[in-house]
Each structure stands twice: as structure tokens, then as C-alpha cells.
């Protein structure tokens, strides 16, 4: 039983190795093509400049400001993601737990739904307003 368990994860580790080597191999192949001059390599300052409507971009893009509306979604995501972590084992063993577990989970989810309704009423799920 335990041996079976390790064997499975061993195969998955093996699979991960192959899965990483496939895209890496593609990149290496592409790089080898540039060594034998099949793939061109003609660097040019204009070519490697950032694409932005044909004008040189002003200021860095990486630490630019972005819409604050993304934050509430991230917060809600964390809440509901933790909920799903609770729901999975509950669902698998539900047939042994019975009515009590059903009511318990209903109460737990309702608390979260109150939060969702609150966010909805506060228009945190809207984009304008």
C-alpha cells in the first residue's frame, strides 16, 4: 500500500522531468537553429524596442498604476478558495457524516454568502460607480 503510494509519486516525478524537458528542448532546438544560421539573428535597436503605437513609451510599464477594482476580487478569491478546501474532504466523506454535516456546511457557506451579498450590495463587484 505505502509502496504503491511512493511508486505513483515516483512516476509523477519522472513525468515532471519529461514535462519540463519538452518545452526546454523546444527552446534549445530553436537556439540550435540560430547557431546554424537557419534562424536569423539581426539585432536592431528599433526592432527590440517596446511595442506601443509606434512611439517610444514614456516611463516604465512594470510598476504602473492599475485599477484598484482588482483588489476586492483577490480578497473574495482567498475567502472562497479556502471554502473549497473545506468542501472537498466534506464531499468525499459526506455519505458517512449525514444530516449534521449537511447543516454544518450550510451554516458555514451561508456566512460566506453573507459576505458575498455584502460585497455585491456595496457594489464591490461593479466596475463603475
Amino acid at each position: 500500500m505505502l509502496e504503491d503510494y511512493f511508486r505513483q509519486y515516483g512516476l509523477i516525478a519522472l513525468f515532471s522531468g519529461v514535462a519540463v524537458s519538452v518545452p526546454v528542448g523546444m527552446l534549445v532546438l530553436s537556439w540550435l537553429f540560430s547557431l546554424v544560421r537557419v534562424r536569423p539573428r539581426k539585432p536592431d535597436p528599433v526592432k527590440s524596442s517596446l511595442y506601443e503605437c509606434g512611439m517610444a513609451p514614456i516611463g516604465g510599464a512594470r510598476w504602473t498604476q492599475f485599477n484598484f477594482r482588482y483588489y476586492p476580487y483577490a480578497l473574495l478569491f482567498v475567502i472562497f478558495d479556502v471554502e473549497t478546501v473545506f468542501l472537498y474532504p466534506w464531499a468525499v466523506r459526506f455519505h458517512q457524516l449525514g444530516l449534521f454535516a449537511f447543516l454544518e456546511m450550510l451554516a458555514f457557506v451561508l456566512v460566506l454568502v453573507v459576505g458575498l451579498v455584502y460585497a455585491w450590495r456595496k457594489r464591490a463587484l461593479e466596475w463603475e460607480g
Partner: protein, 416 residues
Amino acid sequence: MRPFLLEENALFRGLYCWLGANEGNRGFCTPEGEALARDGLLPLGWEWLAYGAAGLALVLLLVNAFLVLVMLYTYMERRVMARFQARLGPNRVGRFGLLQPVADAIKLLTKEDVAPTGADRWVFNLAPIVMFVPVLLVLAVLPFGRGSFLADLNVGVLYVVAVTTVTTLAVFMAGFASGNRYAMFGAMRAVAQLISYEIPVVLSIVGVLLLARSLSLVEIVEAQRVPFVVVQPLAFFIFLAGSSAELNRTPFDLLEAESEIVAGYHIEYSGMKFGMLFLAEFAAVLTTSGVMATLFLKGWEGPLLPSHLWFLIKVFGLAFLFIWIRATLPRLRIDQVMGFAWKFLLPLSLVNVFVTAAEALAWDWETMTPQQVWAMGGINLLVGMVGVVLFSHLVRRPAPRRAARARAAATAEEGV
């Protein structure tokens, strides 16, 4: 408990026994009681190496077969899309254009690879790899046919959910490393959209788990007396809608919306890296169809035809459904997309979880009569239809207040 997992796989057994047959594992390689036909090539105590080599052969076979299927799928997507749009699609390279994916691969390999000056080189090069790996990793637990799977994890569903989420990270890496504003906006949208749709998708699986009582994908397939799509139509719909958002496909492809942010996160990519980002997206369609076929369509099981063929038929049928959705629906706005996830899919998936739980409380899935199964399917279909209509009314709202006010002010000014 299941016997040793890869026992039924002839290739694995042959290779393993060729290398590592000895007295210790005679039950596996030769029937009990018979004389050992031949010792393996490896000495005693090296069975693990035989196991690894045989496993590696299987893994390589699986990965290569999958990559060929993905190439076929890119051809299929282009041809089917073309038919939907009343054109012919690629038909020049090879018979019926079947070699088009090969031509595409060669072209992308021989294209110049340009990285922008402001890019974070390491992350920029790593992003296509991180995008590609999780798609392949899902294959490790998918059962492709009767008794043919690489690993039947007891947490299979969790593994699939966890591994597919990594794509979000790759999209953000690509957008962030490019140092381009469009790419950054695409990455921001990607994170917001992908994590929002994660929740309905994960919750819709709970309905299946309540009936199947296991997280192992093999046991989920075996638990399906009727395909779960019959008793879980709402979950199937939520999974379909949610996963087509997770796959960045057209009704929800805001992270690469050409008309707004040009191409989003892969705007600065060229050559093979661009090709890999796209290949990963196409491959993800196939793996998601595979997961859907396993969870909702009874996986490999079907009458008459061999089990592997049934699995392929189901996977490509679902892939066709994804292409159909892409060809039919126009792109949504970002606020509509987010509203759809939080105000429509999430409440619906919670309703589905508790309706299914109540039914699991009333009836025992394993000992239900066929009439009860059909009654359950009918109830769930009814709940689903009522829920869809009800919640779509909730989501639909009049024009934004501010816009209406501005319009009123404008007309008043005009009147003056």
C-alpha cells in the same frame, strides 16, 4: 484495494520483466508456481531501476502521443473554425492540409526570436516553459482507457485542480517580464479573471465528488452508473463555462483581446516562444476536455468500441464543443466577465452543491434504482434551468447610473 497499478499494461510489464525479473517478483512477471523463464538483465535489488525505465518508456510514449494529438487538434480547430466562418481553412500543405501543423512548427522554429530591451530576460524566457509544463502534468493522472493510466492518485482531482492553476502564474510572468503596458494590463486582467473562474469550476466538481465519494479519477469513472452529466447537468454547464474562461477562449479571452490591448501578455513574444505559448493553450483545451470527459461523461467506458477509442471520441467531441462556443459567442467586456463569474456562476455552483448534498442525503447513489437516478437527473435539470433563468435576471441590470445621469444632464443642457 486495487492490485499493483500498471499490471495490466503490456508494455510496462514486458519492459519491467525483461530488465528486472527475478525470484523476488515472480508473482508479477511469471505465474505463481511456474519456473522463472529467464532472469532479468539487472542484478537482484535493482528492480527500482527496471521500474523507472519501464515507467519512463510509458511516460515518453504518452507525452509523444499527446503532442501529436495536439498538433492534430490545432489543425482541427483551424478547419472547423473556417467551416463555421464559411471559408475553407488550411488545405494546401499535405493531403487536406493535414501537414499544416508541421509547417507551422518549422516556420516558428526558424523565425527570429526578439526580446524587447526592457524585458526581464530570465522571467521572459521562463514563462513559456511554465505555461507548458502544467498542461502536460495533468496527463499523469488522467485514465485513458480501462486500466491504462500512469498514476491513480487518491487525490487525483485535487492534483488536476492544483496543477492547472499554475497557468495563471505563467500568464502573469509573461505579461510582467515583457515590460510592455499592454502586456501588463493583459496580465492584470488574466489574474483577476483566472482566479475568479477558478472558484465556480472547483465548486462544480464538488457535486461530482458527493456522488462518486472519491478523489481518484479512476474511481470517479467507475462510480458513474450513468454519466454524471445526466445527474449533474448544472455542474457540467458551470464547468464548461468556467473552464472556457480558464482556457482564455473567445467569450472570455480578455487577456489577449486584440481590439483593446492588442495581444495582451504575449505581445512581445516571437518565434518559438510565441509558438509555445499558443501550443500550450491548444494543449490545455485537450487536457480540459479529457478532465471533463472523465468527470462527467464516464471517461473511457462505452459499448462495443475499445476503451481508448471511446475516450478519444469523447475528448474530441468536447474539444469540438469548445470550438463551437468560440465560433458562436462574441467577446464580453471585462466587467461583464467578472460579473458573470461572481454573480452568476458562483451562486449557481453553491446551489448545485447543496441540492446535490440534499439528494445524497435522501438517496444512496450506490443502491439507487434507475427510476430514482432519472428522478434525480430530472430534479437537477429543473433546478439548473430555474437557477440559470433566475440568476441571469439578477445579473442583468439597467444601464449604469452614472451614464444615465450624464445622458440626462446632456439632454437637459441641450434643452436650455
